[in-house]
Symmetry: D5
Subunit: 149 residues, 10 copies
């Protein structure tokens, strides 16, 4: 009755990665996807297509059942309404400070609508800078227009 | 005893913009700053250098006292812990879903630290796409390393 | 300095409707839109295209500035995380009880994705029934598939 | 002293379904009920009549005690006041944006009352559309009129 | 533009009652309804039928527009999730302590369903008792059975 | 070191009741108390006098230590500030909608004070009604007057 | 239509007290009540008997209507679930740290019941002490025993 | 790796007390401290001096390691912001209703400062009274004056 | 009836400071106190001794009544449980990250007790540093030992 | 599958420290770091450089895997938005009372920016004082200036 859970799969991935001395870049390359998507799917924040689920299972030596679980649509849950980790909080702060600005510029450039968080992709890169290197985050989401009917 | 408040200045800017038929792009160009920064400073989420405060005051025909207020360091307040506006909520959702991923990749690429939300800039652009145009948000923040002492 | 606000416009619409003895069905018909959309735009939960904003302004005898405000993209705010009004709470309860079921069936019928609340429309109708008439709510939203990249 | 709990039964159903490669449509058909009701009862959000509880137990090969538990009136609990899963959040957003509109139209069409969430049923269907298929949710609840006494 | 609001009407009723030295029992008798319903409708927690709205308007000398407002379906709002007033808190405590018990007994006596809070009435009476008089609250609500479909 | 806990006792009672096919009415009759009190004491929301604790222990075949635990004053905890179960929520809604009314009538009938939730009893009964049977809840609590000193 | 409110009365009392250079001890003595009760009634946390309401009105030179308002049963509201003022927070902390202890000792000394907060009185005194004077708070509330029925 | 925790020690104390039929008064007397302090230290809300930790360990027959743990400074945690147990809630209510009064009287009697909750002691006693015995709670805390610098 | 409030005084101080082009350092020097204490008392977070209240009133040209209000013990309120302003949030983050560490070191260095926030003072200084100047915050609070009784 | 977790490492450190009778000062000295940083890294609130992780592992006799875990960037979580432990709460209170003051002085001394909580260090020391020893907390964080772009 004790089937493998998604939490088990996440924990197996983290453990296999640590023991093999792998990086997310490396795992992503091995399965032919981006590091952002690969990490989020490994954490249970995205579902994997069958071939990617099998590729990561093979790469990390996970049991076959893991590949099935990685293909299921996860229920995405975060338990902290305001995240306490300083690295994640700074992103929350950006939404609080600049959210209304992003909204105003989307309306100015596109009309009455939003940026999709579903038809969406993102990258995180390191940009060299003599005053101190910078983190660059690029998000791209499809513009969705409100309906009038 | 009823001095001009920052809320008054924000409301004067919005009203002058509507009456003059201006855009944020246009106002930003007039004062020689980016649209993201210009809007956020106008909303009371950033302080303006003296010359920019005077430029926007002149551009929009605001009273002289407004230029002083725009130079003060604002207390940045947002009252909704979870924003309800769908356009802003999608950004909050991105932080919930991808926050741990951004954290993991920053640690992998830089070490133990964070992306600053203070030494920070951002742009919002429209990217044409045959399947539907896309919103592109680019954030850049200085990497800050944790201290050990 | 005291420009007309969106709250003023909402309150003018409600007052004009009461004095003229109109219904939402009637106002919707007058401007050629559905009652659901018409009410929500009047309440500041949707932006109106220019012609509809002018039509409702003319229908209800509102000042010209109201038509401009009705065309702006509103910031959608609800202040009660859990709504207390019994009529609205029942809808919240439906989301709590049946939300996971709707999610499971969307995944089963479409794949890993969601129903859009932006490319979305809805109707509310009365269905006669000998055991007591029933409220019928029909929602239709575009299916959006998660990206993998 | 360790009797079977309802959580055990839910987990057994999910596991048996996965192993047998069944769908909710298929299980629902096997027990002669709708997919929405079948899923929600399997998740502990509705009680099953005796014959349906026995039918699902037989279909999925569950122990006999499971059929008794499926007949008990469950305590319906959801732990996230605001659901974080994007697919369920969109429904919460619909209640926030359109809740007051649904209320206004119920009052206009019926009088002072509500739509029941108890004497209630719902369906979820896929509607083909050249611009992208759509999710259609139909809810039907008995109108209940407030008492005056 | 400053129409009479429901809050104005509530406040007029309270003021007229105080000045005339009336009781809720007295007002209820004057309009031929129960004290519980009369008070709750006066507070904006129930809508009045036209004849009762006119009766209370006449009884208390309110302006004619008040009678129209008293007939509208109010949006029922309470702002304290946990009420602080000791008299009301005790009722909240009763729900916390005895809520699961009431649920269990309803299921035992009726089946899987609830007591309606819409098709509902209530009385509050004083019962003499040599050890100290007692407050008696009687609630009666229609039993509603859950649907299976 | 693993003594029997109150949660264990509650769970033993529920299990014994299910296996023996008993009802709360039946258990209450067996120990000579009301069903409301019996259920609430079994759930850990009231302490039992020694003879009742022994009677229920004997009736259900519980271990002797259970009788001791049932006599201890429980710490009454409910974890949902706003209950989600629809059957219990309706009672919470009644407090929100009618709480101020009950308060006003207690003050009118008794003076400045409250209804005790400690020196308190309650019954739940089924009332036949041709339009649909009704749930009747009767609460009786001692009136307590505020002190002035 | 702008009747005197309880907030007005509270504010008049505070203003009259400041202007006359009075103390709460002094006002309490003038009306023949304790300082604790006098302050709390003046703040709208207790209702005054008619003679005390008239006495304080006379003492402070308030308008006659104030005496009527001071006799009404106030709705006791505090808006901070956790009080921030350090002087009041320390009391909240005492409840958090010692609440379970007080409960255990009440049960040990009296049985299953509580200390009433209604049939209740309190004093605050200064106790000289060579190591630093101490605040002494004495509370006295009637023991109320839980009912079994 | 499974060292004894403070929770284990608390649970051992409660169990030993129940089995030995002891009271808090009795345990307190055995170790030469007050019942309030003894109970709170046993619950992990105060640290014990070495001799008292050894005395209670000997009295109740606890393992030697328990005496070490009872001497550590505990992290004082309460998980319910608003306590639900009626006996503890009444104390919370007293803070809400009378907190501002206690603050005003401390300021009047001492100056600008607070009552310490650290240099603090308390007793709970039973006071006989023909109208019903009363619970008397006496708190004594050192007055601390705010600094100006 | 509209007496000067503390909020009025705070706002007058801010306005006078802006018009006179003063700094907090300057005002503090003028009244012979530290900048931290001076600012906090001006904001209503500390009470002023009579001579300091008169000094600041004279320095800034405030009305005489302001000096009286500045001497009253303020009720210290902050409305954001988690502060959103980035400058203040960083301090909150320090408490979250390092709070348990400060607690552990206080217990190691002093025993079972706390640092007083009442008998407390603080300074904020600028420290030159070739890698970027640093903010230095020094807090000093009296150690208070827990009582055992 | 049960790898060592960070919680295990924290608990091993606390246990080894207790058994060896060490202090945080002592452990810090042994690894050549400050006590504040050492404790916070041991608690999972900072990552250790490799040599320090190995040093503490050797000092306390932890398994080799612990050294790897101590080098990972932890997710910093605190579960109490408002800390209840009195020693930590006082720090939270300081942020509430003096946060706006610190902000004002940083702006006055540096310009529009903040004190970093990342490029940050802190010490806790005991200062002898005839009126009672004092806790001294010194924080030093790099000043970060807001960007304008």
């Amino acid at each position: 009755m004790s089937a493998l859970t998604r939490e088990d799969v996440t924990s197996m991935i983290l453990s296999a990665k640590r023991q093999a001395g792998l990086t997310w870049e490396g795992i992503a390359e091995a399965i032919g996807m981006s590091p952002v998507w690969t990490h989020s799917a490994a954490m249970g924040m995205n579902a994997m297509p069958a071939d990617k689920a099998e590729a990561i299972t093979a790469t990390l030596g996970l049991p076959q059942e893991a590949a099935l679980i990685l293909q299921e649509s996860p229920t995405k849950i975060w338990s902290q309404t305001v995240p306490t980790d300083p690295c994640i909080y700074r992103l929350y702060e950006v939404v609080g400070v600049y959210g209304p600005t992003i909204k105003a510029l989307i309306h100015e450039k596109f009309g009455d609508g939003i940026m999709s968080a579903i038809d969406f992709d993102m990258s995180v890169t390191r940009v060299e800078n003599p005053k101190g290197d910078r983190v660059k985050i690029e998000m791209s989401g499809k513009y969705l227009s409100y309906n009038a009917w």
